[in-house]
Symmetry: D2
Subunit: 357 residues, 4 copies
């Protein structure tokens, strides 16, 4: 129930600080007999690490995951899966100047207000480092839902004000920004470069697509599929907006246009984004999330220290210019976890083999 | 853990179908010694009922709440608070034609897919009727957070494409649509009337504001304050988009513009919407939600019956033209519940009187 | 998570005070398509009401249960089942003298210490009246597990020091005390009568048996089947001891005697009581619970008032002499709930029809 | 909610198999600003390791705990505390013969039935090895409750049929079996030696005492303090019976004898074991648990293999003769966790500093 645990039946707890010895995730509720190896997880983790982009953080995060429990001879056993990632290339002295300072746009002030203590090194628990553990756990969720035919991928929909002009893709695009529009992607890369040179950062929009989801997943009322997806995605550090299906555009539509009319075989349109009354329709689930610019900028900013005295800060160090593309596997991971959880919840209310049906 | 229960410490479970005998909510986890009477709750419930607008449903929903437990001599006792609302003016025969039909934009199809059975009368559990219980429970949450100095109100930010042009208000506006811009409100009312005449419905945007919230509420990582708010709001039937603070606009900002710089006494701007790293800053919490048009329209729509045969449906009966303004107390209720829950969670980690501090 | 909610997937929240207008239970997580009517529940409730025994409370508790939601045309719909029982024959003036008094053996003192307020009328929430709601919810659980072939019954194993000498029965015995040994039952009834005449009360032991439970139910480590059963049973007001299988006798056995050796087809003995390593074996689950005497006695007792001043109390009014036999359906209800919950949890980790296996 | 997670606010998830690379616990919900170092935990872990008794397992379990997160400069930060214990001296080949065999009294059969797969090496997850992680997490809980003045200790009350004849001690006894009666302890040691020579094992009874607990902890109805303690203790592998206060003896008492009468300053007796109506009275909390003999015995036993064929097994290897005394810190750990959890839950419903009281 605490803030570091996610899910009802497929429950993930992550732990670890940016500059502690390691980070990890425990999955309590992973079904047995799922084929699982570290390799299955490593692929997603590798997509999260800094790439060859000019915008990328030069921090060497070679995240190697180890499975410490819950897998026996290549299959999950139903007991907790402990995923362990050692922190490397930790340079805690780089943060000494931040011990008594609140960085604008970061959680420094709020962690201090909440707990009366904080690990100031690299943002401590509030660091995006924490998402490595989510990505690892999400990769396990992905294996579970893949067995049920569900695929999840995300792509860049907008970056630094440049939007994709091509149709929604059917698979994750291959480019460096996972952007389906190669022309837009080139402009985005230029925009990243400009921002880096200006000591600034930029925001963007990620779209996430679920294909092959059976109808019937999601709970009515509070734990609707869209509610859980929105909560999951808004729980990613940089995300400040979430929309499902046609989202905010629906606020300007008439009902006669918004309603997805039905015909034999399914729905004619998908303004609802694959979810009606909180439950999946069997159509594509479509989400868009707004990502704010990374708050660590080289430019000088006004702030205060922990005693309330005004001061100025300029954040050097190894930082990305945008959360895109590294946030893409994180968005996927959160969506995979929500789907795995709801898949198990749905199984629980279905009659199983235990009484001969 | 099931979908009809909300919250961790301030836990609300709602129950009831649109055309069943009653609906209600149980609050398990309400602290003791809160002054509480049915009158405290009735005010919020009354704001949810159909008003004098041309757009309003003529269904007579005089929701009278009864407190059946958990209150003794005007104060909560710490035991479960049972809130009970009898359904009145139920006309279940009106729905006979819908027994074998899936209405576009409604949960008919997805409930059938999920459960293999559904109460077709008025949408059953998927009816907006269910939100009466949320509003009642939210009113109790409101009393708890009011003791800590927290106020919550919502207002209409946009309806049928007409936006508010005036600044964000400091209290809930008084007009029929709770719209702070009287000129815009007049246009919105005209728009509602047009839509009603056309047998159609319209969407809009609600803004919710929290004032007086202390810093430090919210959990890191998964149960961030913004994650929980987004999940809570997206769990309202018509909501298809949520943004916090500057929301989607942040995707187009630079970091130097987005970051809220600090000075002695607080933050200079509030792009973050009062939440940093998932934890409240002490500033105003700002949310905007996109509401889709009501799916029940008089115009003819194509659909299928439960056997998959194509057919046509035109939904008569007593329906609103927009979820605004009746959704406004529902949005407030959800936000009050999230805040009450996090307030209690924060108290739990603070040293109390039990060891002399 | 609060104390009035039970279960993980089959979640029951009860509410209501002894002398409030009503009491009830909400089941969030009841699977759809279970046949359910008020009659199914009434039978268990009737076994809980005061019977024709000389020891029985003359309070007229004709508990009539109403199902207010979650059932449509005789079947559960998967939405919350609201069970409602109006309190009758409430005589709140009888308790005026107890407003400022702590009754020995009751929760008066501890409720006051915990909450700083208490509903003193008939024990308020701490009254055994609360168990009516449990029994109602347990009857729904019983229907779910019955579909999987599981039967639960309890019987009197000891009362006022008189033990059953006959073998463990295979069904619930029919007598007034649900005692399998008619000779012992006669002596027990005499013992009840003696105690009543002496203004005193007596304790006893209830045994609960589960038959037809499939192997594999229960979780390892913390939420073992025996842990959950023990917690469930110890959560009944009068219960102060629980043992599983041979229980405390195992503390005096050697391993060679205690171990249940196996042969083709199953286990030779059942010292483990049908549970190994927290998971059901498929054999009978055997539990025994120690029930303390009812604390409301007519004899004078020393106590203090809420200001700490010494005083004397003699509790008149309408009270039973022993919790047996009325506690028997309560024990059954708790066990049914635990089993229903674990049955659903087990289904969740089994591959279902959703991916063609 | 899965079986490897314990607690509501102080939430512990353990992970790890007997013969995997490591075992550990994550605490999500540890309050900030608690002084904590590995040394604080090591003391309890050391009491769990095999001692110098003739009955002790010769397996070298030097459990060295590492704190991987959640502590900064000697104090907890409020973020998850990850406790990590590497498995040493693992000899997995010793278990090759058990791959296709069900050992009597072990979870081999039930794990196979539940999951369709099991890690047969040393019992896998069902091994008592798992309790190392509980003891580590319990040591953190102990620090939290110690701040509120609460002390927890356990001692041997009976072993192999030999009972303690001396009064209940006020602190944990110092001897090798933590037995308060030195004469009985000598006989118990002899009994252990006899059993070891006979290739057999013995059971016993552990008593746990809580001192200094404030009144008011525990929830009414389902999550009563006694219910949670009973569930926690019954969730320890060998425990098959739990009683609170006078326990089973109460079943033979009259009400006039059982009730703890009150006088100015407190209760005259403590038959209730410090808990009334599920809530602590402020008096000593007294628990007794029945421990079955260890199922691994050298003597030949009949069993079946996983194909159902009858066979014979004799379990060699490195095993204790009784779970006492190594189970003593495990019992203490579970009780510490329950108390820490309820202490935090109680703080949540008390008005804190946030609104000036």
């Amino acid at each position: 129930m605490s803030g570091n645990t996610f899910g009802t039946l497929f429950r993930v707890t992550t732990w670890g600080e940016s500059h502690g010895p390691a980070t990890g995730a425990i999955i309590d509720g992973c079904p047995p007999l799922i084929s699982l190896s570290a390799t299955d997880i490593q692929d997603d983790l590798d997509r999260r690490k800094p790439g060859g982009l000019p915008s990328a953080s030069p921090r060497r995060e070679e995240d190697i995951v180890e499975i410490l429990s819950g897998v026996f001879e290549g299959k999950t056993t139903g007991t907790p899966v402990s995923l362990f990632i050692r922190n490397r290339d930790v340079d805690e002295k780089a943060y000494d100047g931040l011990r008594t300072l609140f960085r604008p746009g970061h959680g420094d002030f709020t962690y201090q207000a909440k707990y009366g203590i904080r690990d100031h090194r690299g943002g401590g628990r509030a660091s995006a480092r924490e998402t490595a553990a989510r990505v690892a756990a999400g990769a396990v969720a992905r294996k579970i839902i893949a067995e049920a035919g569900i695929e999840v991928f995300a792509f860049t929909g907008e970056l630094g004000g440049i939007s994709v002009e091509t149709p929604r893709p059917a698979v994750r695009p291959a480019g460096p920004l996972y952007c389906p529009d190669p022309e837009a992607e080139q402009k985005m890369i230029a925009r990243l470069d400009e921002a880096r040179k200006a000591g600034d950062t930029i925001g963007g929009i990620v779209e996430i697509v679920v294909r092959g989801c059976p109808p019937g997943l999601g709970e009515p009322v509070f734990s609707k599929m869209d509610a859980d997806l929105a909560g999951a995605l808004m729980g990613i550090g940089s995300v400040k907006g979430v929309e499902i299906g046609a989202g905010f555009a629906l606020a300007r539509m008439k009902g006669s246009r918004c309603n997805d009319q039905m015909e034999t075989g399914g729905f004619r349109t998908n303004n609802a984004g694959g979810i009606l009354a909180g439950i999946t329709t069997g159509g594509e689930i479509i989400m868009r999330v707004a990502c704010k610019p990374i708050p660590s900028i080289a430019r000088k900013q006004d702030t205060v220290d922990i005693f309330g005295n005004p001061t100025v800060v300029s954040i050097g160090g190894r930082h990305d210019v945008a959360v895109i593309p590294r946030i893409i596997p994180v968005c996927e991971a959160m969506v995979c976890m929500v789907l795995a959880d709801h898949l198990l919840r749905q199984r629980a209310i279905q009659r199983g083999a235990d009484h001969g049906e």
